[in-house]
């Protein structure tokens, strides 16, 4: 009908108007397929049927690249078995923290950096333990620990440039810690008080920092991945020497946004690091119920980007892989995928009891592989660390975290007006009206207003 209307119209150029015909939108796809098919049949016709040589006529010229023909009918891949070949896992330290003699270590850690990396991991462990307990005491509503994945998170953070923009999932607060987020900053967010940039609007653990180039956490999984691709593309357009770094888990890799992000970053050449924490579990769902292929790394190569599988319990390996990936991304203008194999030693969150879906033996075995202890063994072997320093660090950190939580708990909540600000840059009429109504409600019914929230 539109075509008819357009043809009858004297109002606009009808030749262009025909393109507005939605059926042509559908035709477009058909035409593409037809042109592909005709190319294929033309190429096939050009090749003698009896020919077996791989000359030019034995290839299919396709917009996506030249594809060779074969006379063998062969399917690729299939269900994996225990004996199927797997992408190997790069590591530089063995399970006890001993240096592996022939390991490739392009960016070895010097004493100062190694100690800094270890210190951050140990602080993260202490903070996680105290905050977990504080939540269980009812001090705030929710918490998530990084237990078992400290080397993945802090090791990769150390491999990034502080100017690289991080798009995290929710278990990567070690990156913030590494970059200088203070215990006060963490505590203010956990309590949702007025010193927190997010003004108490989000659940605990939704940290963010403009100064530290760390985009504010949002709960939906994998939504941050296309953002990272876009941000990386912006950096490329700017000619910047930075990358975007996106963190996510193997569970999030099943989301559509994961595939969107990798495909966009690869096709558009965005210098983005996709850092997957394959920690074995998405809440209760084990990895073998999350995917049937060889993990996540193989997907990177399928999307046309370099990919590596790394031992997520080896901080030095993660650090080296991240630095190398960053160099590739900037040199070649492409994304890189890192799959860090780790284990979520803690529960998914304070709302989860993981003993309901995994065995005690499994958890004990993995806790024995504590990546922080493993890295400490390497430091001690280098004579860069000792028991006394360990005690001092943990004791001092414990005091600092407890003090930060105490302090944050006494800070007033944001004012009522913060319920309505920041929805838009300027508050539109309906929010102004609702703010006034809410202020009246708060005054009429004071019990509805948290006691330490200013009614203004």
């Amino acid at each position: 009908m539109l075509s008819r209307i357009v043809c009858n119209s004297s109002l606009g150029p009808s030749s262009l108007a025909q393109l507005a015909c939605s059926s042509l939108h559908l035709l477009r796809h058909v035409q593409r397929q037809l042109s592909t098919a005709s190319t294929a049949s033309a190429a096939a016709a050009a090749a003698p049927a009896e020919s077996t040589s791989q000359d030019a006529a034995d290839t299919l010229e396709f917009p996506g690249g030249r594809v060779p023909f074969t006379h063998n009918m062969e399917f690729l891949g299939g269900p994996l078995t225990p004996s199927s070949p797997r992408i190997p896992c790069y590591r530089t330290l063995d399970g006890t923290g001993k240096h592996i003699p022939d390991a490739v270590v392009p960016h070895d850690l010097q004493q100062q950096d190694a100690v800094a990396l270890y210190t951050a991991m140990a602080k993260l462990q202490v903070m996680d333990t105290i905050c977990y307990d504080a939540q269980r005491q009812g001090r705030f509503s929710f918490f998530m620990t990084c237990a078992g994945e400290e080397a993945t998170v802090v090791g990769s953070a150390a491999g990034l440039d502080p100017r690289d923009m991080v798009f995290s999932q929710y278990r990567e607060h070690g990156v913030l810690l590494w970059r200088g987020f203070s215990f006060d900053d963490f505590a203010n967010q956990l309590y949702g008080n007025s010193l927190e940039p997010g003004q108490g609007r989000q659940m605990p653990i939704h940290y963010g920092s403009k100064e530290l180039n760390y985009q504010t956490v949002s709960s939906p999984l994998a939504t941050q991945l296309p953002h990272a691709a876009g941000a990386a593309y912006a950096m490329k357009l700017d000619g910047a020497d930075t990358v975007a770094a996106a963190y996510f888990g193997e569970g999030a890799s099943s989301e559509g946004d994961f595939h969107a992000a990798l495909n966009f970053a690869a096709t558009l050449g965005a210098p983005c690091l996709f850092i997957c924490r394959n920690n074995g579990y998405a809440i209760s769902t084990p990895a073998n119920e999350q995917y049937a292929g060889d993990g996540i790394a193989c997907r990177g190569t399928a999307y046309g980007m370099p990919a590596i599988r790394v031992d997520g319990g080896d901080a030095r390996a993660v650090y080296c892989a991240t630095r190398a990936a960053r160099e590739i991304a900037l040199r070649d203008g492409c994304p890189v995928l890192i799959e860090a194999m780790s284990y979520r030693s803690g529960h998914h969150s304070t709302s989860d009891d993981s003993s309901r879906y995994r065995t005690r033996e499994e958890m004990v075995a993995w806790r024995a592989r504590d990546p922080v202890v493993r890295f400490r063994h390497w430091l001690v072997a280098n004579a860069w660390w000792d028991e006394e320093r360990e005690k001092q660090l943990r004791h001092a950190t414990r005091q600092q975290v407890i003090e930060a939580l105490e302090k944050a708990s006494k800070v007033a909540k944001p004012p009522v007006s913060a319920l309505f600000s920041d929805v838009y840059a300027d508050m539109p009429w309906h929010l102004q009206e609702q703010l006034q109504e809410t202020l009246q409600v708060a005054r009429r019914h004071p019990h509805l207003c948290p006691p330490d929230m200013p009614v203004q």
Binding site: M1, L2, S3, R4, I5, N8, S9, L11, G12, P13, L16, A17, L19, A20, C21, S22, S23, L24, H25, R28, M165, E196, P197, G198, R201, Q202, H206, G208, K210, Q215, T216, P220, T223, P226, H227, A229, G230, A231, A232, Y233, A234, M235, L237, A244, G256, D257, H259, A260, A261, N263, F264, T267, L268, A418, D422, V423, Y424, A425, W429, H430
Partner: protein, 365 residues
């Protein structure tokens, strides 16, 4: 009464004769929108070319403006992005066929200070991007307390009936997004509006969704100001002044309302005030209540299904704010609560006849 019925029959006969050509003649009402044109030169453009000119204008004045989406590099399936690649190079680029990727990628660009202008090829295909729009773009500023924002993002999408689009090339999806705090939702009804409102969206500090009535891409032509030209968001426009009833619509539907207003003026002497809402979120409550307080009656009309459509919001607020001035129940004339149907389109759509019927019933209430 008898005279009235005869007049109605004449109107209906006239409508049947005009058939589907009515919609393309609706451009006549657009001359009113020129009242807002800023002083200076104008040139006749159809709505598609007006969008194209706005995109050129945006990319000329802002070297951070990027246009991307499916098939935009060669000019787009509707030709709205013609010439951008040639003039601005890699600032206009194709993306893989993935709506959630397009919007998510745009959000990422916006966080780095760019001005992404994303095209979703049809509004019917915006749903895969729903999560990115609702949970990400809309909440980006709020959840970070202004630390970060995706406000530079503008998403353009052609919407609405074209006569043969069926389920998936016809939908009006605006009310899904008017329910989302943090988004702005804008629908132009003429070429000048398309340029002025699109440029406002692109410059706006909040994420905007801009629904373009694809029926009007080529059937609506008017004089459009050249150069920089913006129309403020959040302001409705009175297309026709009247005393008996207020008719509110947006996009292509305002032309149906204008025709119905003319029909009842000619046949019944009913004086309709026609209001083009233009911005649905945030909408112009002052213009709407001022008009209804004057006329005492309200009719809202949209192509989208009746239930939970944006008309419900207008009717509810007008009922509350203008209750003592109302002389009849506010009425909605909308699409049926069905998927958009192909061969039933004339029955599904709130066409001139149904609007005329509803005007008469409301005025006689």
């Amino acid at each position: 009464m008898h005279t009235h019925v005869r007049q109605l029959q004449q109107v209906q006969q006239q409508h049947q004769q005009q058939g589907q050509q009515q919609r393309q003649q609706q451009h006549a009402v657009h001359s009113l929108s020129m009242s807002e044109a800023q002083a200076g030169d104008t040139k006749p453009l159809n709505l598609c070319n007006a969008v194209n000119e706005a995109l050129h204008q945006a990319m000329d004045s802002n070297d951070k403006a990027l246009v991307f989406g499916e098939d935009v590099a060669f000019g787009g399936v509707f030709r709205c992005t013609v010439g951008l690649l040639e003039r601005y190079g890699r600032r206009c680029f194709n993306t893989p066929l993935c709506e959630q990727g397009i919007v998510g990628f745009g959000i990422g660009l916006a966080t780095q200070g760019y001005t992404p202008i994303a095209e979703i090829q049809f509004a019917d295909y915006i749903y895969p991007a729903f999560d990115q729009l609702v949970n990400e773009a809309a909440k980006y500023r709020y959840r970070s307390g202004g630390t970060f924002t995706a406000g530079g993002l503008t998403v353009r999408a052609p919407y609405g009936a074209v006569g043969h689009g069926g389920h998936y090339h016809s939908q009006s999806v605006e009310s899904f997004f008017t329910h989302v705090p943090g988004l702005k939702v804008v629908v132009p009804s003429s070429p000048a509006q398309a340029k002025g409102l699109l440029l406002s969206c692109i410059q706006d500090p909040d994420p905007c969704i801009f629904f373009e009535p694809k029926m009007l891409y080529r059937t609506s032509v008017e004089e459009v100001p050249v150069g920089e030209y913006t129309i403020p968001l959040g302001q409705a426009q009175v297309l026709r002044e009247g005393a008996d009833i207020t008719l509110i619509g947006w996009g292509a539907q305002v032309h149906v309302l204008a025709q119905a207003a003319q029909a009842v003026a000619d046949a019944d002497g009913i004086s309709c005030e026609v209001l083009d809402l233009r911005t649905l979120l945030p909408w112009d409550v002052q213009a709407v209540t001022a008009s209804v307080n004057k006329t005492g009656r309200l009719l809202v009309s949209h192509e989208a299904p009746l239930s939970s459509g944006f008309g419900a919001e207008l009717v509810a607020e007008v009922s509350r704010r203008c209750f003592l001035r109302l002389e009849a129940p506010p009425v909605r004339v909308c699409g049926s609560d069905t998927p958009f149907p192909l061969v039933f389109e004339p029955l599904y759509l709130p066409g001139v006849e149904r609007v005329v019927d509803a005007i008469r019933a409301t005025v006689r209430f």
